[in-house]
Structure formats: C-alpha cells, structure tokens
C-alpha cells in the first residue's frame, strides 16, 4: 500500500522561527510535491522535485525553500515563519515522468504561526 507520511499532524511555531516540514514516501517515487491548502483557495503548489537534489518552483514559492537529499524524503523549509504561512501543508508523491501519474497525498500538517 502506498504510503506518504508527514512528520507532524499539528505544529505551532512562533514568528521568525525556522520551520522544517518533513515528508517521506515508501514507493520509490521519482516525483515529490509540496502544496498548501487554505479555505476558499484550494490547494496551491509551492515546490516540487523530480529527482534527488532537483527542485522546481511551483505557483507560490516565496518564503519557502525545499531540500531533497534522498529519493524518499522531501523537506519544506520556512526560513523565517510568518503568520501568513499559517496553513495546512500537504505532501504528495508520484512515479514516472511528465506528471501524468496519480499523486499520492500524505495526511497533511496543520501549521499555526503565532
């Protein structure tokens, strides 16, 4: 069974802190993605990666960075957390090239920045 896990379900951080959100997939998928989900806005793509050490900006990369040192792990980094980054963060993975394969999602991390 495909599994995408995220390190925390709930996280509370203070403004200005450096925040790491971790995502691990056990399907040997090439592609991994980070989205944020906000009410009324749906899901928006932050960053994605199609190979180890590769990264591509999505639609809303400002204020975020990512790291992919191993194929199974994709980290989202908030260098200096701000209140407008309070959101639900969803990680996903998929196999193959071109993005045509199903993306499998983790359960999400609800981040609150105070």
């Amino acid at each position: 069974d495909v599994k995408v896990t995220q390190s925390s379900r709930y996280l509370v951080k203070r403004t200005g802190e450096k925040v790491f959100l971790e995502c691990v997939q056990d399907m040997d998928h090439e592609n991994m993605f980070w989205y944020r989900q906000d009410p009324g806005l749906g899901l928006r793509l932050i960053y994605f990666s199609y190979d180890v050490k590769m990264k591509e900006k999505g639609d809303i990369p400002e204020g975020y960075s990512v790291s992919r040192e191993k194929k199974e792990r994709f980290s989202l980094i908030l260098e200096s957390a701000s209140t407008n980054q309070t959101s639900m963060y969803l990680c996903a993975s998929s196999k193959g090239a071109g993005g045509i394969y199903e993306q499998y999602f983790g359960p999400g991390t609800r981040l609150t920045v105070t």
């Binding site: 009324g40 591509e56 996903a92 090239a97 071109g98 993306q103």
Partner: protein
C-alpha cells in the same frame, strides 16, 4: 498556464439522490484531469482520472466523470449518494511538459453536504 474552475462552493444533496459536481478547465492541449476527495482531517484520495480514450471514466466509490472537450468540462457524477460521501471534492489538471514532473493545478473545491 492551466486553470480549473469549480463553480459551486457548497452543494447540498439528499441521501439517495443523484449528484453532479461541475468542473471546467482551461488548458491549450489535451489535459490530464483528476477528481480527488478529502474527508475531514484527511489527505486527498484519488477518485478517478482521465488521460485519453473513452470520455466516460469510472472511479472508486461508484463515481464517474465525463470529459467534454467542446465544453472544457469534466463533471463528476454519482447516481445515488450516501451519507459517507460528505466531503470536499477537488478537480485538478496537469499539463505534460515533456520533462520531469508537473504539479497539479486544483480548483477551489466543492463542499458536499448530505441531508438525511
């Protein structure tokens, strides 16, 4: 760039009634289309997908969707809803760049409420 519109923010349906959730997309070439469902507190689960071929696709949980190129639509249907279908539904599109992965572009979602 591609985009997805889900015109209905909320839909209320009686249990046992039929359901249709609307999705319109904008993309220059042949799109790859998906419907996902998100139950409260959960991640997203794929209901069905369209890549090519038969324009009527069957998914899990009794759902189906029809791709209509002339209307740029990919509406989701179910003949008889169950209380457990109450959830948030997202339509999504991805383009094929010929290279590596591409992220999905999602609609803003439709919240389905089931009345007893």
């Amino acid at each position: 760039a591609q985009s997805v519109t889900q015109p209905d923010i909320h839909i209320t349906v009686s249990e046992g009634a039929s359901l249709e959730l609307r999705c319109n997309y904008s993309y220059g070439a042949t799109p790859y289309l998906f419907w996902y469902v998100q139950s409260p507190g959960q991640g997203l689960q794929l209901l069905l997908k369209y890549f090519s071929g038969d324009t009527l696709v069957q998914g899990i949980k009794g759902f189906e969707a029809e791709f209509k190129r002339s209307q740029s639509s990919f509406n989701l249907r179910k003949p008889s809803v169950h209380w457990s279908d109450a959830a948030e539904y997202f339509c999504a599109v991805v383009g094929y760049s010929g290279g590596g992965a591409d992220g999905l572009t999602f609609g803003k979602g439709t919240h389905l409420i089931i009345q007893p």
